[in-house]
Amino acid sequence: MLSNFMINTWTVASLVAITAGLVGFFTVIRGASFAAHTIPLSTFPGAAAAVLLGVNQVLGLIVAASLSVIGINALSRRGQPDVATAMTLVMMLGLGTLCLSQISQYSQQVYALLFGQVFGISQASITPIAVIDIFAAGALLMLFRPLLLSSLSTDLLQARYLTATRLNLAFLIILALASAVALPVVGALLVFSLMVGPASAARNITSRPVLAMGLTVLISLFTVWTAIVLSYVTNWPVGFFVGGFGAIAYSAGRGALRIRRWKPSPIS
């Protein structure tokens, strides 16, 4: 499990977990879970197109993620954000279907894109993933306070002469980058669970924002590491364990909050 081959897996999975944890914290408190679901799925055609054209898959993922951010942002200006997000998802999935129909080695590629292939990470993939993850995490930490303020109220942000739409666009770009590099690890279908599960648990465990963000990263790392070990041992997909731990973490967080808020009835 600690062979040279697996070192790539541990390295990339840890980087992805840290960034997904940071992004996931703001995804949850900003109520952007639908966007976090849509953008990874929207990167799917990018990966398919990259396979079709024979170019670097990460490049394809980033291009598709950028297109989905542009789509969500542009359509949101003229209508409801959730409808805009849904329409972007539909358009991108349609494009993905077209690309996949042109790929001859269909089933294996589809499986890898949808459910991840963390054990197949090459040495050459590490550097671009690391650069993008570090950039995304750094940008998010820089925007920590404005993002927190706008999560409370966009009016409060605007009262400080910061533009909510620009900040939202910046957040979507960071979300897209984090999704693009997480996709090869946990797959398009389950990136969402890595972003939402740990953050949902952490926000229920503590009311301190910095602590909640740190806890999100720890739960995310624990989720990915444990999933890799179990996947290695059982040969079951990593995504299955990531999704499962996401749900368990969320339930544990809700339980912790319920215990803390529980007050004995005054009537015995």
């Binding site: 408190i29 404005p146 303020l149 409370l152 109220s153 009016d155 605007q158 952490a202 301190r208």
Partner: protein
């Protein structure tokens, strides 16, 4: 201090404010009264500089502006304590993760004490009552020491006790710190004991001055463009607006409501 001079604000197909004028000396407690859609929020956002006026000018003096927006729907699971909200009032627009700072903590503690929120400072803000949340939002707005405080419908959806507590807190701040308060509301009655100025908006136009000068039948009839009666009942002010054979009543607490036909 706040001076609004010949202010007009419009959006495509909708002239919201037209030639609005008023002046508030430092230490004024002013109610910005009007029905829903009368332009109260637009006026506050224009004073903040978030809306560009078509014409007119605004002078706010020195010391910055504090702002409490309309009721925020807080997620009860939001990992944010009351003291974190106040701290965001100091440096929420700065980049980076906040580092521990004794001076920042002292400023937050002092502000929390000022608004009577020390006892729930460490509680999750989503768990607080409406009145407690408004105290925190006021502390957030005031923690940088502005001399002008704008509040957009801060009394909406609060119970009677919380309304009285928020008004008492604002009055204390006006008296002790000489802050100028401009508070929008559609019900002037809770503000009557403390308000020394009123700006009344209707149909995009305004009248302003002392309450007893403005809330009069002749003044409001001129503002609305039809006959208005001002009635006092048990210390509360009711405005009855008659249009033709139809009567519309507003207690200032509601939009004009069709109640009955009065011959």
């Amino acid at each position: 201090m706040l001076t609004v001079d010949s202010l007009s604000v419009g959006f495509p197909g909708n002239q919201v404010l037209q030639d609005v004028n008023f002046h508030l000396p430092q230490g004024s407690f002013c109610g910005l009264i009007g029905t829903n859609g009368s332009g109260k929020t637009t006026l506050l956002r224009t004073i903040l500089g978030l809306v560009t006026p078509d014409k007119g000018k605004i002078e706010t003096g020195v010391g910055g502006i504090g702002y409490v927006p309309q009721k925020i729907q807080l997620d009860p699971f939001m990992p944010l304590r009351a003291r974190d909200v106040v701290a965001l009032g100091i440096d929420g627009h700065h980049l980076g993760v906040p580092l521990p700072s004794p001076s920042r903590r002292r400023a937050v503690d002092s502000m929390l004490a000022e608004v009577g929120a020390t006892e729930f400072a460490n509680r999750r803000v989503g768990d607080l009552s409406g009145g407690q949340q408004q105290r925190i939002m006021i502390a957030h707005a005031l923690v940088r020491g502005p001399r002008l405080l704008l509040l957009d419908e801060p009394l909406a959806n609060l119970d009677i006790r919380s309304v009285a507590e928020v008004i008492a807190l604002l009055h204390k701040l006006v008296v002790e710190q000489k802050i100028t308060v401009l508070l929008s509301a559609h019900d002037m009655n809770p503000l009557l004991p403390v308000m020394n100025q009123i700006v009344y908006l209707a149909h995009g136009r305004s009248v302003s001055g002392a309450v007893e000068e403005v809330v009069r039948s002749s003044v409001l009839s001129s503002l609305y463009g039809y006959h208005i009666d001002v009635i006092q009942v048990h210390g509360r002010v009711l405005v009855v607006a008659a249009v033709g054979a139809e009567a519309r009543t507003t207690e200032m607490a509601h939009e004009p409501v069709h109640v009955t036909s009065i011959p």
